[in-house]
């Protein structure tokens, strides 16, 4: 029988990992991930799980360490944020190229400079091309559910790719939410012991991480790309299984009142819940607005997104990261490019919001949408703009 508790989401993430029978975790603390690391070490120290807990001396080492352990066949976990994720940057593409199923939590936090410990998405965006499966969780329940799902997806023989689960730092990790935890028996049934494809052991010596000459490098990259694209099948399969066992449905692109909307707003992460209230308010005023929430970032859900937005007149993509001197925020650039060749597509606007932990309220969302509606009537599209920046 599942139990519902009020729990800080960061702690809940660690509790979810505790249910997954991991063999090893390596963490280096960084605000706002630290509660995940701390609580996980509590769980290990109390003997509630049997895992090697390695407190490493840097994030570069934590990702290298879990990769080494994953190569031996262990189920592994790590967590980081912002500068830590940037420090791991060198190794991230190697983990996915070597097809190691590492599961990592990223507590989204702005990257320096200036140094800022509060929430935005500028840490995960530079890791776009690292070849990892990337999810965004919107609330504590999703954090717990997707943590458990991630191990199953990553370790599947058809996937064998690392997964990064994003949860907004402080906004999510340090808020107390009502969460329903599956019990250990149910998780054991859903997530059996890892059966690795290939491992490091003297009984069958193999070499991992070999040198790829120009003759085969491109083929290796394509094979990895295909694996990432194909992983969608397994992701959907696991989400089906989850619904059957626990009743909660997960989709790559979630919608709220989007079916008959003229104006759509697109968000990622915990802002989605605030945006829903704004949508409700605007609907009361008679505007036909709706919300699109992107849960699956990589592999990018092209078909699902196109299907959801095609009937709308305008789509406002909110970005919580900047691509300096680029064609707009990263999410906007990807969405616009995904829709470019479609016959039926909305006008796409970009609003950069919520940088460095700046709060985005219901009123802010309402203003964003109303401004875009006005611009849409006049046929104005700006490349991208910053919302709420003084000056």
């Amino acid at each position: 029988m599942a139990k519902q508790v009020g729990m800080e989401v960061g702690i809940a993430a660690a509790e979810a990992v505790g249910l997954c029978n991991i063999d090893m975790a390596a963490v280096y603390p960084i605000t706002p991930q630290s509660h995940i690391a701390e609580h996980l070490s509590d769980i290990v120290a109390d003997g509630r799980i049997d895992a090697e807990f390695v407190t490493v001396e840097s994030e570069h080492t934590s990702i290298s360490c879990v990769s080494g352990a994953s190569a031996t066949g262990a189920r592994v976990y790590t967590a980081t944020s912002s500068q830590g994720l940037m420090y791991m940057h060198e190794i991230l593409p190697i983990v996915s190229a070597m097809r190691l199923p590492v599961v990592m939590a990223n507590a989204n936090r702005a990257i320096s400079g200036p140094i800022n410990i509060w929430n935005d998405h500028s840490d995960i965006m530079p890791q776009r091309d690292a070849g990892w499966i990337v999810f965004f969780a919107e609330n504590g329940q999703e954090v717990v559910d997707m943590t458990i799902q991630s191990f199953k997806i990553a370790e599947d023989d058809d996937v064998m790719l690392p997964i990064c689960l994003n949860m907004d730092g402080f906004q999510l990790t340090h808020t107390v939410e009502l969460i329903e935890f599956p019990d250990q028996k149910e998780v054991n049934k859903f997530l059996p012991v890892r059966k690795p494809f290939a491992t490091l052991h003297p009984d069958h010596p193999i070499s991992m991480g070999t040198l790829g000459m120009p003759e085969i490098y491109a083929e290796s990259r394509k094979s990895q790309d295909e694996a990432l694209i194909n992983s969608k099948k397994t992701i959907f399969k696991v989400w089906d299984e989850w619904e059957k066992m626990f009743g909660r449905r997960y989709k790559p692109v979630e919608t709220y009142l989007a079916e008959d909307a003229e104006i759509l707003l697109l968000t990622m992460g915990s802002m989605g819940e605030t945006a829903e209230i704004a949508i409700d308010e605007l609907r009361k005023k008679g505007m036909r607005v709706g919300l699109v929430k992107l849960r699956l970032w990589r592999p990018f859900p092209f078909e699902e997104l196109k299907a959801v937005v095609k009937k709308a007149k305008s789509l406002i993509v909110t970005d919580r990261a900047v691509s300096f001197g680029g064609p707009g925020g990263p999410v906007f650039a990807e969405v616009k490019s995904a829709l470019y060749n479609e016959k039926e597509r909305p006008l796409v606007y970009n609003s950069i919001i919520g940088l460095g932990g700046r709060d985005v309220t219901v009123k802010d969302f309402m203003k964003l949408i109303e401004d875009a509606a006005k611009a849409g009537k006049k046929g104005i599209i700006k490349d991208y703009e910053y919302y709420g920046v003084r000056g």
């Binding site: 070597m98 097809r99 190691l100 070499s207 991480g209 070999t210 003759e215 085969i216 083929e219 295909e226």
Partner: protein, 96 residues
């Protein structure tokens, strides 16, 4: 392991570029590199095995009578064995 034609297609390439066959580097014959090769004078050889120990390739081995020979498929002709041989039983001879 199924024999694959080189260079492989993207479907054939091992995931993560893992190599499942240990010591498969033997297929590459570095012996073509050498400009000189070691020749043993068995009459002087005391079968101490120093040439075997010091070969960076590990291509020196004993024949049935216990004398040492270099596998010329791999010998790079570095000359270490000839220099280290105690009784001077090994001479480096020009190739070709």
């Amino acid at each position: 392991m199924k024999k694959k034609k080189w260079p492989e297609t993207w479907q054939e390439i091992n995931p993560g570029c893992m190599v499942f066959e240990p010591a498969s580097a033997r297929s590459y014959h570095t012996g073509s590199w050498k400009a000189q090769r070691p020749v043993w004078d068995d009459s002087k050889c005391i079968k101490c095995g120093v040439c075997y120990i010091f070969c960076p390739e590990g291509c020196v081995s004993q024949d049935d009578e216990g004398f040492f020979r270099a596998d010329l498929d791999y010998c790079k002709g570095c000359g270490i064995c000839a220099l280290e041989c105690w009784p001077g039983a090994i001479k480096m001879v020009e190739e070709g």
